[in-house]
């Protein structure tokens, strides 16, 4: 078997995106089981140390295309297509995130390859990889196999956890002739921050506020806790309706769907219209004074109590723990 190739996104300052690191760890694990190795493609100005450090997550080789700028998918498709062809990788694996989708999808066309998206787990069977992905609003899981090589696996956000295993990767520089159309999109400005727009869909930690908060001003309790944990604030339809929080933060059947590492539901009853928007969160912590609230039936940890007492103390304790 020819190994698994992963794309690692960096922020232009040598720090790699967590989902990419997760993909590398996953690829290393799977490649190990298949008797192959994990390789990584990076583009742009990545230092030797930074590239080699990916070995810490299990990468054996790092293929670096220095002349290709980070941020747009099509030039990277050119790079990965070449590396896959030259080095005979059998699979391409991507962590959750936008570029992964675009590169993976482009490779599908370029290499006439099978692709599976929103993959939540990968397993090995008969020397091949099988991708698992949820369908039908997460009410079923399908196992998808690949016909021929390579196979392309695009993970769901936060599906793969990164693991440091120690080690250093071999860094190989690659030169690639870009396709004519890969030069037709040019980045004018990358990564502009816009304060007001909170993107709750990508947050790792979300504090959801519901009617139990009592009034608009009490959203501060949620915001303080979110700050302490390094997360963002979301809201239920009822409170958005009441004007306590903006629609952009609404989660649920008629709002956004999220799957963060942690969803802390404060004063949320857990009616199904809200549940469908957050039920796939990795960990769900609920605080509600009503012991009969439906949320207690699907949370991982539930506290029946007064959030006005609990939230501030929790915020303090977390700050202390982080600071200390």
């Amino acid at each position: 078997m020819g190994g698994i190739l992963v794309y690692a996104l960096h922020d232009g300052e040598g720090k790699f995106n967590n989902n990419s690191l997760g993909a590398i760890s996953e690829a290393a694990k799977l490649a190990g089981e298949l008797g192959g190795e994990a390789g990584v493609v990076v583009v742009g100005d990545v230092s030797d140390e930074a590239a080699a450090s990916l070995g810490n997550y299990g990468a054996a080789k790092v293929h670096r295309a220095k002349s290709v700028e980070e941020g747009l998918a099509q030039p990277i498709i050119d790079v990965m297509a070449k590396v896959i062809a030259d080095d005979g990788y059998s699979y391409a694996l991507f962590g959750g995130g936008l570029l992964g989708f675009e590169i993976g999808a482009g490779l599908t066309a370029r290499l006439n390859a099978g692709v599976t998206m929103e993959v939540t787990a990968v397993k090995v069977a008969d020397g091949k990889l099988i991708a698992e992905r949820p369908v039908l609003q997460d009410s079923a899981i399908v196992d998808v196999g690949y016909v021929g090589e390579p196979g392309i696996i695009i993970g769901r956000l936060n599906a793969f956890d990164h693991k440091e295993t120690g080690g250093s990767a071999e860094v190989i520089d690659v030169e690639v002739e870009l396709s004519e159309w890969s030069t037709k999109a040019r980045m004018r400005q990358r990564g502009e921050q816009r304060g007001a727009d909170v993107n709750i869909e990508d947050a790792d930690i979300l504090i959801g506020g519901g009617r139990g908060l009592g009034e608009k001003d009490n959203f501060k309790l949620a915001e303080d806790l979110a700050d302490a944990l390094g997360g963002a604030v979301a809201a239920t339809r009822a409170v958005v309706d009441a004007g306590w929080y903006p629609y952009a933060a609404q989660i649920g059947q008629t709002g956004k769907t999220v799957a963060p590492k942690l969803y802390l539901a404060a004063g949320i009853s857990g009616a199904i219209q809200h549940k469908v928007g957050m039920q796939n969160s990795e960990s769900i912590l609920a605080v509600n004074k009503d012991p009969n609230a439906p949320i207690f039936e699907f949370c991982d940890l539930g506290v029946v109590g007064d959030l006005h007492k609990i939230l501030p103390k929790l915020t303090e304790a977390i700050k202390a723990k982080k600071g200390g």
Binding site: L72, L98, A109, G191, E192, D197, L229, V304, K313
Partner: protein, 263 residues
Amino acid sequence: MKICCLVKEVPDAAVQKRIDPGTKRLDRSGEKNLNPFDTHGIEAAMQIREGGNAEVEEIIAVTMGPETAVRALHKAVALGADRSVHLTDGALEGSDVAATGYALAKVLESESPDLVLLGQQSDDGECYTIGAVVADHLKMPSLTQVIEIKLEDGRIVCERQAEYGYDTVEIDLPAVISVGDAINEPRYPSLKAIMGAKKKPLDTKATGDVGIEGDRVGTAGSRTQVLEMNPPPAKESGEVFEDEDTAETVEKIVAWLDERKLI
């Protein structure tokens, strides 16, 4: 300028999707609708036409699907497309993402568009970014999750939210752009437009009409295979306790968060 809007017919979001217990396959009965994300694509095309910065000769709705997909085309036309193209052929049944992307690219090739617009994902959650697959076949630049499109002599400038913030990207035409739902608020079709939709030209094409090679589409031409479908692993219900001593409660929560490496 010629704009092609790729549209897809998907099960209505309100229809409870379920596996038929008898056949163990997706129960496909129930209403189908024009993929809501694609309505944003059509609206984007209409806004380019009405914006006055470009002369748009034609907006064409294009779909690949079974007979019933004509309804999606009627809706697209009611929203403003001038005509539609329906790629339909038994040979296409069972096509996966790779096969579908190839087939769509072939039918679009036959129209030579300057701009291809589509929704960034379909409501049935099957695929995100079929646009990127199509673009590579067409050898055109592509961008997905676009939330703003501006025209600037022969090229477009797009905005989209990526991992590290908002990117502004300039793209030469012809190009394939997948739009996010934040890009615009689609209009409602007028009753007149709805009733007139069936009279707009509709071309039906089979694989042979656009040069699609049979062995690259359908179940046989697909490069992935669904092996099994299972219910998700049952989630164990968690622990629920009452807050009797808030200090203790908070300690317990912090320990739980710590265990899960969330702090």
